[in-house]
Symmetry: C2
């Protein structure tokens, strides 16, 4: 057996990893965080020793230059340096985008020699990276810092808060290992990965051959079940770095800690969904197949009419039913049951929403988070997607984003 404890301090908890975030002038305004601080815009995570690395990337066909640059390394390569920047996605920049990364890394080698460095970018699409601006960060970095907080804030774009998390895993024999992660993302979030970057480091002695699978499965259950707006970005990246320094590993414990980490980080992204006030779990069960359940629950988390009804706190379950009916799956209004939390809001035998049940529905919808479950009553497959409401602020943020 084992225990998993949440611990403060983010990435700083994992021995052998260092990180920092600095401002080189690409972010010029204080974040919407109640302070007057201007966050960093360039950051790094590095390791004392070479790390195994696993990655999952966006399904967008126009993968950004940093992803192409990563994929050009030989399979199974090791690294000890990740460089990140905000404000510029280095996407749709063609061959120049990759050349620019190589130029930046040539300059990095002069200041801080490292092996197989990896880059990760987020921001506007279609502009070349400002090379001199980004490389000016190298003089400002404290390469021996463990500034997890500053690193997490440096990768923020429209995020309103930094997202960092760490766990200590204690095995029965007293051995421990750690896993920690930071991520960013608040919009362009869709079940097939989104404008989100996530960097996870661990000192667990996980065999390299297990890393890819455990990361893929964990991302499938977390980042790939959330949606802010149904758009999928060119830059989505989740990286897992392992430096093995703890000499300790337990397969089940590691998978569970990683799942907790990715689930909680993905919930932070949803909570920070651009202009959103609520996080809702859309559970579709009783489906003919897992694919059907997934299709319907993702349709719910992406429907504009569902999202605006959530914002208006309007228990208009007709939009839930209509969205399920439109999702192209097997369903039948005779066997469908829709619940908001524990309240049956639609079933064949309760077709009319009376005042008492409507009042209860209003109370549920006022909450910051709740579950909408739809039992199709056909077979026994289920899937849960997570979504948020759509407010005026989403429109405001996205009408103004670039300018």
């Amino acid at each position: 057996m084992f225990n998993i404890f949440p611990i403060k301090g983010g990435l700083a908890n994992v021995e052998g990893f260092y990180c920092d975030g600095v401002n080189v002038g690409m972010k010029t305004n204080p974040a919407n965080s109640g302070t007057s601080d201007i966050d960093g815009d360039v950051a790094f995570i590095r390791s004392d020793t070479l790390c195994d690395i696993s990655a999952t990337f966006t399904t967008n066909r126009f993968q950004a230059a940093p992803i192409k640059h990563f994929l050009a390394y030989p399979k199974g390569f090791q690294t000890n340096f990740i460089l990140m920047n905000a404000k510029n996605a280095n996407a749709m920049t063609g061959k120049r985008g990759i050349e620019d990364i190589n130029t930046i890394f040539s300059k990095l080698q002069e200041v801080y020699p490292c092996t197989n460095p990896v880059m990760s970018s987020t921001g506007v699409i279609g502009y070349p990276l400002p090379i001199d601006t980004i490389t000016s960060a190298f003089d400002k970095f404290d390469f021996d810092a463990k500034n997890s907080h500053k690193t997490a804030r440096a990768i923020m774009t429209t995020d309103s808060f930094e997202k960092e998390l760490a766990f200590k895993v204690e095995l029965d024999d007293g051995d421990t290992f750690h896993i920690a992660g930071i991520c960013k993302g608040a919009g362009m979030i869709n079940p097939a990965m989104a404008t989100m970057l996530c960097f996870i480091v661990t000192d667990a002695d996980i065999p390299k051959e297990e890393m890819d699978d455990v990361l893929k499965q964990s991302v499938e259950k977390s980042f790939n079940t959330i949606s802010v707006d149904g758009d999928t970005s060119t830059n989505d990246t989740v990286l897992l770095l392992s430096n093995h320094t703890s000499k300790t590993y337990h397969k089940e414990a590691f998978a569970q800690a990683l799942d907790m980490l990715t689930h909680q980080l993905s919930m932070m992204i949803l909570k920070d969904g651009e202009g959103s006030n609520k996080v809702v779990a859309f559970t579709v069960k009783g489906a003919k197949s897992k694919e059907d359940a997934q299709k319907a629950s993702k349709a719910l988390s992406n429907s504009l009419l569902v999202k605006t009804a959530l914002f208006g706190e309007d228990p208009n379950w007709g939009r839930i039913a209509s969205t399920i009916g439109a999702s192209g799956i097997d369903c039948d209004e005779e066997s469908l049951v829709i619940k908001y939390a524990d309240l049956i809001i639609y079933a064949k035998e309760f077709p009319i929403l009376d005042k008492e049940r409507e009042h209860k529905a209003f109370e549920i919808m006022k909450k910051e988070s709740f579950t909408i479950s739809c039992d199709l009553g056909i077979a026994n497959h289920s899937f849960t997607s997570y979504g948020c409401d759509l407010s005026y602020d989403y429109v405001k943020i996205n009408a103004d984003y670039r300018t």
Copy 2:
């Protein structure tokens, strides 16, 4: 050869058809039309003689009761009466929903005997029809009226203007026939039909066996290419009624007039898209297959990030590229060319949007309607979908719709 002339007066132009719309108290506020008139909420279209009828309905699996009621008639049935109501969709109302329609039609037969009457409803899902309220319209109807305008206004929900159109088709030998239509729809509009109702009447002597095909093809090119919000309703209906009274028919002329009618009516729906200010044609060409072109152009017309960028008049073509890349089709950033009207805004050889071209893009985006075209440069298949911007008002309208 033939000529097609637009004519005023909507449905009233077609001999043998009568229509009226009256208020029975379900709509209680003046529409957002600058007048203090309260529109009708129940309406009819009837014919002196039995008509052939063709229909296309929503792809939503939870078809509303009026659609089920229609489909219960034997194939090839004829009718002379369509009853319409707004404010209540009679959807997700189970068997009761169909029984209620039969009750309403029993009462109609007492007042106005008719054959195989058809009903069509739009409004909120999940509430039983107010039978007595709806049947109270029968005393108010003028069954000999040709009040096309009132009929078109009675089926409006969140629409801000009525949508009616008519054409006279003149053949070379001087023979003429007419085609006229009304429709409603402003939200829940998606390429697979949407909360839209459309009623088309003609005196063309079209053979019954040609009606279904010509209607299906015309809907495919018009209503099925538009999107306001990507949601597909339970009630979508397009009906085509032909009373053959002109004794005149010309296959090509009829198809062309019908296409003009459905295209222009669908553009009116988009122009009236909830809270929208712009209509944009998204043309994807150079695709490997028509399916690819359609998938990418529909993805563009449904993308929240594209729609908010249109609202912000922000020439952020990165969102166009990203949406195409995420749509799951074959594409390549090396061969992609994106144009706003005639302006190349992205191509491999112009990767950076300079100030002059950005200024031109701003000018184009200020327009009420324009084309965004994406040439994938792979093969020669193309498809155009039509969409609109997403404004604060969309959120307001849909957060408040039911309450």
